[in-house]
């Protein structure tokens, strides 16, 4: 038991710093606030070290979910995935707020095969075929992540930000496309539709390439899952929160990791 605990702590120690330094996944729009119904917004999506410079791996667009202000799902135009980034266009004819999200749900497993450590990543229904029958020490984790951004044509509003009740989600108190420097912006984080209390939330301004420090701001959600930031400088911000629990949907998985990331634009006064 003690050994198990030590092992778990070790694993956590190995994973956590990595997680903290890990590549960041993001989706960044060319505009967040538009004023005509024939406006078009284009997006980049990638996994990278620097914000928002694609330098590592493209985000996969298979799980792109775009919700229009009327609550309907819309398809992107010209989706493309290159070596280091993905891109797509989105006309925004409806007045209100659009939610553009990469919603990933899957399993990852560590196991040993003939004394060698192996890793596997995939979907729940692929688990049986993905891991050899003679694998040992199979440890399966479930993960649910949402990486998203918002675009508003005209006045913010509509149904796109209604929570789905799955994983970590952001609910606006301040509209995500109504952020200006020096004004407090407040949001609520929900985990499976319920307030996510006591979670650390990090905000990192973009353009990390042009400064020496990450300049991250941290805060914590209160008992209602609410958190606030006052952004000093205008620009794009990467806002991220993570949590772990054992509320898995797949019986083979003992642990679940949930993550939430938003790209928010803050305009100057």
């Amino acid at each position: 038991m003690k050994q198990l605990f030590v092992r778990a702590a070790l694993a956590a120690a190995l994973v956590l710093p990595l997680a903290a330094q890990a590549h960041k996944m993001w989706i960044v729009p060319s505009s967040t606030v538009v004023s005509s119904d024939d406006a078009l917004v284009t997006f980049d999506a990638a996994v990278s070290n620097d914000l928002y410079y694609p330098d590592h791996f493209p985000a996969q667009l298979d799980n792109l979910v775009i919700t229009a202000p009327d609550g309907s799902q819309v398809k992107p135009e010209n989706p493309w995935t290159g070596k280091v980034r993905s891109a797509f266009d989105l006309p925004v004819p409806q007045k209100g707020t659009y939610r553009i999200a990469l919603v990933n749900q899957g399993l990852f497993a560590n196991y040993e095969l003939d004394g060698q450590k192996k890793r596997w990543r995939g979907k729940a229904d692929e688990l049986k075929s993905g891991i050899p029958a003679n694998a040992k020490n199979v440890q399966v984790s479930e993960m649910a992540s949402r990486v998203e951004t918002f675009v508003t044509q005209g006045k913010p509003g509509g149904d796109a930000l209604k929570p789905t009740g799955k994983g970590l989600e952001l609910v606006p108190v301040t509209q995500p496309n109504d952020l200006v420097t020096g004004e407090k912006a407040t949001f609520q984080l929900l985990l499976d539709g319920k307030p996510a209390a006591g979670l650390k939330v990090t905000a990192i301004p973009g353009a990390t390439r042009y400064r020496n420090a990450q300049d991250e701001q941290d805060t914590q959600t209160d008992k209602d899952g609410r958190f606030s930031f006052t952004f000093k400088d205008p620009g794009m911000y990467w806002v991220n929160a993570n949590s772990e629990d054992n509320k898995t949907t797949v019986k083979e998985a003992k642990q679940r990791r949930v993550a939430y990331t938003a790209t928010l634009e803050v305009l100057p006064q």
Binding site: V34, S35, S36, D38, A39, V180, L267, P268
Partner: protein
């Protein structure tokens, strides 16, 4: 001259009527490689930043299929406070962009677009945003109603020049 006379008489008659505002907005001449006329918005805010009156919005009204509205959001303060609630064009408020120079605007208490301001402390705001250019906002604070004629001014530095606001009781 014959034409001017009735006009002059109108002006003479004006002081009898309600309080008014005379605003001059200067758009400076800029020596830049690519010049576009600025989009300009003029409005009045209450102390809580709510909008008491939309006075002027100059934008590219001529472009086909309302394409000029695409850049309205660049007047970002105006857009956030009131622009995004409007449907363009706004009757008696919006109009074409203006060239460099002094532009006179006249508003009368009780008449659109000024309407009737409740007694209080206000700010007149002029915001300019120029394609491939800069952005500037100037504010002039005033109290309403005015008891004695007041001459107020602000001076822009880049996209706006001299702004004067004359208030008459």
């Amino acid at each position: 001259m014959r034409r001017l006379l009735p006009l002059a008489l109108c002006f003479l008659a004006a002081p009898v009527a309600a309080a008014d505002m005379n605003l001059t907005v200067e758009i400076p001449t800029l020596k830049v490689a690519e010049y576009h006329r600025p989009y300009v918005a003029v409005w009045i805010e209450r102390e809580d930043h709510s909008v008491a009156a939309n006075l002027a919005v100059w934008y590219d009204v001529k472009k086909a299929s309302g394409e000029g509205t695409k850049w309205l959001k660049d007047m970002r303060q105006w857009w956030r406070r009131t622009g995004r609630d409007q449907s363009m064009p706004i009757d008696g408020v919006s109009g074409a962009t203006r060239p460099a120079g002094q532009h006179q605007l006249h508003f009368t208490d009780g008449k659109a677009p000024l309407g009737t301001l409740a007694p209080g402390h206000y700010e007149l705001i002029v915001e300019a945003a120029r394609e491939t250019g800069g952005h500037e906002t100037q504010r002039i604070a005033f109290d309403w109603p005015v008891k004695v004629p007041a001459h107020l001014a602000a001076k822009g530095t880049d996209e706006l020049g001299q702004i004067t606001l004359d208030l008459n009781p």
